[in-house]
Symmetry: none
Subunit: 250 residues, 2 copies
């Protein structure tokens, strides 16, 4: 098994059934994953069904931390995948499980951690959830019967992880490190706030899709902390300026 490396986190977003949380923990540990994060579990936490279906996985090392919002659950992650069976109208790369695992392991020499978002049993991830992801993760399912059980969906990724993790070359390093996600989210909010002030979001009903498209474009660059700082300086300059532009134009 992989040791001394940062293994990907699994983030269940608004899961409904404790049973599925427990089954998720079990299959994660079956394949060597331990970092489980749960955003607003509908049936509460801790959960008796989850404990039962976990077959002891929580006691054996799976974490199971609870968060109130997706942003908080992923704030320390550098690369985020959104698992979805439905196509989204977003400009994001789409990978299958072996490719996701390959990408994650190639980044593992750095201190950056990746995570995968899985949506609720009834409705999956919202488009808003997906805006936080760099990459779409999808499986080669039967299009006439595409809806996987939640824990099963995690299991497909986990088994791909187990399949590849042993073969990871040692000491493989990529270039520079993408910033923790909270910095990128801070930059989004800063930009969107200034665009809002400037009257950019028009008509108002199109705001969500405009925000979504902008985020999708920016997220693909895997910006470093330094780049985010630089661009925030640029936003600030554009928004505040020094009165020069107005004077020139008036």
């Amino acid at each position: 098994m992989v040791k001394d490396t940062i293994r990907p986190a699994i983030i269940l977003v608004r899961p409904q059934l404790g049973e599925n949380i427990g089954s998720t923990a079990r299959v994660m540990l079956n394949f060597g994953l331990v970092d489980l994060r749960i955003v607003r579990p509908r049936d509460g936490w801790p959960s008796l069904p989850a404990a039962k279906l976990s077959a002891g996985a929580f006691e054996a090392g799976v974490s199971g931390r609870i968060y109130d919002r997706v942003e908080e659950a992923i704030s320390d992650l550098s690369h985020v995948y959104a698992a979805t069976a439905r196509p989204r109208e977003m400009e994001k790369p789409v990978v299958d499980a072996p490719k996701a695992v390959q990408d994650i392991t190639s980044r593992m020499g750095t201190q950056s951690q990746s995570g995968i978002l899985f949506g609720s049993e009834s409705s999956g991830l919202t488009n808003h959830d997906v805006t936080f992801a760099d990459t779409i993760l999808t499986y080669p399912v039967n299009s006439d019967f595409a809806s996987l059980n939640l824990a099963m969906a995690v299991g497909v990724f986990a088994s791909a992880w187990g399949q590849t993790a042993n073969e990871r070359p040692e000491g493989f390093e990529t270039g520079s490190e993408a910033a923790p996600r909270e910095e990128l989210i801070g930059m989004f909010k800063h930009l969107e706030q200034e665009l809002g002030r400037a009257g950019y979001f028009h008509p108002p009903e199109k705001t969500p899709v405009m925000v979504q498209n902008l985020r999708a474009a920016f997220i693909r660059g895997e910006w470093t902390s330094q780049e985010i700082q630089t661009f925030r300086g640029a936003i600030k300059a554009l928004a505040l300026g020094r009165g020069k532009a107005r004077i020139e134009r008036e």
Copy 2:
């Protein structure tokens, strides 16, 4: 999806819980498998929990035939795998799921069908069951927590099957095309001009390196023409809306 081929059969040997039979049927059909055979289900058949957890897979095409003995269940198959996490004292080849799928698909031109035996929840396959198999199928599990849920074990094989046999579901686009470079350069110039007006490039001797860093960050996103247009709209809004922000803040 795979057509006109003989897809492998899944054989559950003495499964205990109807829930697991239902979940097995669901994940089989998720990845395009339809031939489910069940040897002596402990809790009887048909089964309400199985129907519930199948999410309609039986109605949608999964067979679910019942047999009294393993020999009967596999009598028409040409190649049989035994899924087991425990090593057996038997001289049989051992493969993982991708290798099993590869072997099965390479035999599919012929009329021969393969099948995979999965044992009961509590004790797996007996050595007697395994004697009927040509090949051992095993997964790269965490040796400290090796016991998979039964349906999950089927799911790992089924997803490996889907990975090799199915095509990517319709409707997913693998990223659209990056804009011609001149559009990106136009965007750079627009941004840099507005930043210049706003007094961003300070001190002046650092301008080249600031420009270089900003361009490097943007170029990595491989933006489409649409995204470039969107962002140029944002630059324009920020640059023109500047007066509003100043007034609010003063």
